[in-house]
């Protein structure tokens, strides 16, 4: 073993050829010269003669160097060729090993590509680590989704750690370009945005001063994709895009691939609109670039100190207690980091299990060739040479396995990306590139070295000499090798257990998510997502808009295929803004007309305040969605535009805001949302709804009637069959009523799917890994038990001849298998108890130590191992004792 390492070292000591050789040759020449002088030559002559006798010194040095090179290559080549031939002679062993390794390496490489693309690769901006997102922190220490403009201005002017800072307001909007109307994601961005990102338009220019003020010339910069797809790559001269009532001149095109934030395809200057003065209107996301030489912690401290002083200055006028800066890449990948790393851990475990399997096989092979190796040792081969040949075989195996793995990884990555799980950002970055290939190769080579070391662990001189003296019986070395194999198998079972427990926990979470009650009951429906390009600003415009909405609804209802129609501004299953805000309770319907009225209350204002999601729904909405009415009533025809405004609240809002009291009949002012200061009277309480995904907790919701409040973005829910014809009819109706309004259709089932996509993806991968691991572990146990049985054929024969029943012998063999299994399960459970804590964030309604998962998995593993042990046991028992006792 030490010899092995020493020789491994000499492979790299080229310097020996240079250093020692010089001195050696010099010594030689001097000695020969001295001899010549003793023979009578003059010193000069002697030296010349010596050099002549020696031959060309440089030539000799070259020849020695060549020996070094040739020898190394020659030996390596010979060993590799020998290794290949040896493997070809054992095709069963070779193919199983290569496939097993391929599976392990392939899985690890595929997931590594995901890790690389999603987490590791730097963003495609200049000096991307210097870009940070700034967040307000609320009174509970939580990061707020958005910041308000006055806070942003104070940040910009009051800190010195940032070279540039900008605010952004991203979101899709209905845009008309070249006569086509579509929902296109875009963003309003402030002056320094492009400085923060470090990019400039590749065609045209950015915004100039005249375009970045209220009343300035509206200009827009578009993305490369926008330019290619919607402008067909033609000149941008004179091209415009229209959203709402504003027509923007397209003045520039950004570099290919840039779409920050939120897949934006166009950017417009924020400065076109008047500034927002309310410190509590949180509508902006803030991004900044660190100043040169300023480290992140310093910048964080800077903005934190400033924000805390702002809180001190403004008190209740600001909801920001503190602030922080998060590097952009981290912020983009935060939600998926846990699941990606968990998948990587699982893939690595699978790889280790695969290596353990191959190790077992290799050991078995080595054990079979002990006689051969003992003979070779006897005739003079060094242990190093034997080890080197084993290394060559292992290397060939592992490289072949690595190549197989790369192929599997290619296919795997292709499949992963096609699955398009919604929860993986930057998924287009995921591909098999040089990094992945180097990873695969490195892993394969390391596996080869480790496997060889494991296999030659006990191949010392002494052991093999004993081997020669032994007959078929197990020698001391053989027993040691068997111990090692047992340890390997137990480790396999342990790791498999960990993987299976992970899968089990995820399965239970998934089942919980599927069975949770979302609060509404709707299985099949078509959803039309609509956004009005303009916002009605006066009473007449409002009436017209509402008329349009209800025209739309009644025309849809009139279609023969349609059974039910309803409208809501934020459909629970994604696709909405999920507007929320602060409201105030009033003692009279017109108590507050403005925010100042509220402030006049002073301290009491706090007691009157509440926070809820603001929803606008049509009168049939609750019925269509299957949301139960708990008390009071829902909207009806009498709640028209001119009638007193009414509202319906969700149960959790009633419970939290008015515990033990009756919310019905109270007046609420929700002017924060749309500027409409008319009070709303609560007339009903409905059941809670889980929004966005079935996993979220039910929130406090406040519903206003769609005949009384304007929902400029809304979803129409249409129930009926068949859905395709309804969709096309709906588009026609819309084109007649409002051609500028883009419509997107989707189905409720798709929405459900999308909400569960991330979880399903994780489950699928872990499931595949753990089942593969279980199969590999079973294979390993099968191999080990077969070997053990083969070793003890004679013993079994004797026992049978002496009268042992097959049942007893079966119990003996299965007992061995069960012992191994229990050891593995025990070890694996301990490891799992420690590790599952890390993935608690991915679980739903399941603890990291869920006993059902642990227990179930242990039982399954035990059963699997017993099955794997049963087959070789049965085979052995079939052999009649007469045959096994025969020598």
């Amino acid at each position: 073993m030490i010899e092995f390492l020493r020789r491994l070292g000499t492979l790299f000591r080229r310097s020996r050829v240079e250093n020692g050789l010089d001195e050696e040759i010099r010594f030689h020449i001097e000695q020969q010269t001295a001899k010549n002088i003793r023979a009578g030559m003059s010193p000069d002559q002697a030296r010349r003669a010596a050099l002549l006798r020696f031959g060309g010194v440089e030539r000799i040095k070259e020849a020695t160097r060549d020996e070094f090179r040739a020898g190394w290559l020659e030996d390596a080549g010979r060993d590799l060729r020998y290794g290949v031939r040896a493997l070809l002679r054992a095709p069963g062993f070779a193919s199983v090993s290569i496939l097993t390794l391929g599976l392990g390496v392939g899985a690890a490489t595929a997931v590594f590509s995901v890790v690389n693309g999603v987490l590791l690769k730097p963003l495609a901006y200049p000096e991307p680590d210097r870009i940070v997102r700034l967040f307000q922190i609320d009174g509970n220490g939580r990061r707020m989704q958005a910041a308000s403009e006055p806070n942003f201005e104070d940040w910009k002017n009051g800190t010195r750690s940032f070279r540039a800072m900008a605010e952004m307001s991203p979101g899709p909007a209905p845009v008309v370009v070249r006569g086509q109307s579509a929902m296109i994601p875009g963003a309003g961005v402030s002056r320094e945005f492009f400085d923060v990102m470090g990019l400039r338009p590749v065609i045209g220019r950015g915004f100039d001063e005249s375009e970045q003020r209220v009343g300035g010339t509206p200009a827009a910069v578009v993305s490369y994709r926008f330019w290619q797809n919607r402008l067909a790559g033609t000149s941008i001269e004179g091209q415009t895009l229209r959203t709402g009532t504003t027509t923007y001149q397209i003045v520039g095109v950004m570099p290919q691939g840039f779409d920050y934030p939120a897949a934006s395809e166009y950017w417009v200057p924020r400065e076109l609109r008047p500034p927002q003065r309310a410190r509590t209107a949180h509508n902006w996301q803030v991004v900044a670039r660190l100043a040169d030489g300023v480290p992140l912690p310093v910048a964080r401290a800077d903005i934190s100190a400033l924000s805390r002083s702002l809180k001190a200055r403004y008190g209740d006028d600001t909801w920001m207690f503190d602030a922080t800066a998060i590097p952009l890449r981290e912020q983009l990948t935060a939600t998926s980091r846990t699941s990606v790393l968990m998948l990587f851990g699982a893939a690595l475990m699978l790889l280790v299990i695969a290596c353990l399997n191959v190790s077992n096989l290799l050991l078995a092979r080595v054990a079979n060739r002990r006689r051969e190796m003992a003979v070779r040792l006897a005739i003079g081969a060094g242990t190093w040479r034997i080890a080197r040949q084993l290394l060559a075989e292992a290397l060939v195996l592992c490289v072949a396995g690595g190549v197989a793995g790369l192929l599997i990884a290619f296919a795997g990555v292709r499949a992963l990306v096609a699955l398009q799980p919604g929860n993986l950002p930057r998924i287009d970055n995921v591909a098999i590139d040089w990094t992945a290939m180097i990873f695969a190769l490195a892993v394969s080579v390391m596996a080869a070295v480790i496997l060889t070391m494991a296999a030659t662990l006990r191949t010392g001189d002494r052991d093999l000499k004993c081997e020669l003296a032994e007959s078929q019986r197990m020698s001391a070395g053989g027993r040691a090798s068997q111990r090692v194999r047992e340890v390997l198998s137990v480790s396999q079972v342990a790791l498999t257990l960990v993987l299976l427990i992970g899968a089990g926990l995820l399965v239970r979470s998934f089942v919980h998510v599927l069975t949770v009650d979302p609060g509404y009951r709707i299985d099949r429906a078509l959803i039309l997502d609509l956004t009005s390009p303009t916002y009605p600003d006066d009473d007449d415009a409002c009436r017209r808009y509402l008329a349009f909405q209800h025209d739309l609804l009644s025309r849809l209802q009139a279609l023969p295929a349609v059974s039910n129609v309803a409208l809501v501004n934020d459909f629970p299953l994604g696709g909405g803004w999920y507007a929320n805000g602060q409201f105030f309770e009033m003692s009279r319907p017109d108590e507050f007309k403005s925010y100042d009225d509220v402030r006049a209350l002073g301290e009491e204002a706090k007691a009157r305040a509440g926070f809820a999601g603001f929803r606008i729904a049509s009168e049939h909405y609750f019925r269509v969605m299957g949301i139960p009415l708990i008390r009071g009533r829902v909207f009806n025809e009498s709640d028209g535009f001119d009638a007193p405004h009414v509202a319906v609240i969700s149960e959790s809002l009633a419970k939290t805001k008015w515990p033990g009291q009756d919310p019905l009949g109270r007046f609420i002012q929700f002017g924060n949302m749309d500027g409409d200061v008319r009070g709303l009277r609560i007339v009903g309480i409905v059941g809670d709804v889980r929004e966005i995904t079935p996993e979220s907790s039910p929130g406090a919701l406040f519903y206003a009637h769609s005949r009384q409040r304007i929902a400029s973005r809304f979803s129409v829910i249409v129930r009926g069959q068949p859905e395709e014809s309804i969709a096309s009819a709906a588009r026609q109706i819309l084109r007649q009523l409002n051609p500028d309004m883009p419509v997107q259709t989707r189905r409720v089932e798709e929405a459900f799917d999308r909400a569960l996509a991330g979880r399903r993806f994780n489950l699928l991968l872990i499931g595949v890994f753990s089942v593969s691991a279980l199969l590999l572990a079973m294979l390993g146990i099968y191999g080990l038990i077969s070997y053990l049985v083969a070793q003890r054929t004679k013993e079994i024969g004797i026992r049978m001849a002496l009268g042992a029943s097959s049942r007893d012998l079966l119990r003996l063999i299965l007992g061995k298998g069960a012992t191994l299994a229990l050891l593995g399960i025990g070890a694996g459970t301990i490891v799992a108890l420690g590790l599952t804590r890390l993935v608690q964030g991915l679980l739903y309604e399941v603890t990291a130590r869920d006993p059902i998962a642990f227990g179930g998995v242990a039982a399954v593993t035990l059963a699997a191992v017993i099955v794997a042990s049963y087959l070789p046991a049965r085979r052995a028992l079939k052999v009649p004792p007469v045959d096994s006792l025969r020598v």
């Binding site: 001195e23 050696e24 000695q31 031959g55 000799i60 020695t64 070094f68 190093w384 040479r385």
Partner: protein, 113 residues
């Protein structure tokens, strides 16, 4: 007495001679050439440098081992010794060589008879 300055020596033969030279004990490269020239009655006059690639090769194959030592004249030199495998290898090759040369001898004698 005329003799070829550099007789052709097969690589394997040179290896054998070196191993033989080392049978008596450790020696440095120059010492080995001296020994061989003495024993061959100066018939064999190797281009002395050809020894060193051979020594390197033999060491790489594990048949000899080297270490730096100090000579009687207090000079540093690399000394070579036979390893156990070297000894075994030499015995084998010697047997082989003897049989081969006997066979050649027989054939040559046979044709002249």
């Amino acid at each position: 007495m005329t003799h070829k300055e550099r007789p052709d020596l097969l690589q394997g033969t040179l290896d054998m001679l070196v191993l033989k030279a080392l049978q008596l004990g450790a020696m440095h490269g120059w010492g080995i050439t001296e020994r061989l020239e003495q024993w061959s009655d100066n018939i064999l006059q190797l281009g002395q440098g050809t020894l060193y690639p051979a020594l390197y090769r033999l060491e790489r194959q594990g048949l000899i081992r080297s270490s730096w030592k100090v000579t009687e004249n207090n000079r540093r030199a690399r000394y070579y010794t036979l390893t156990a495998s070297g000894r075994r290898y030499f015995e084998e090759e010697l047997t082989h060589w003897k049989r081969l040369s006997r066979a050649v001898e027989l054939i040559l004698q046979a044709s002249s008879a």
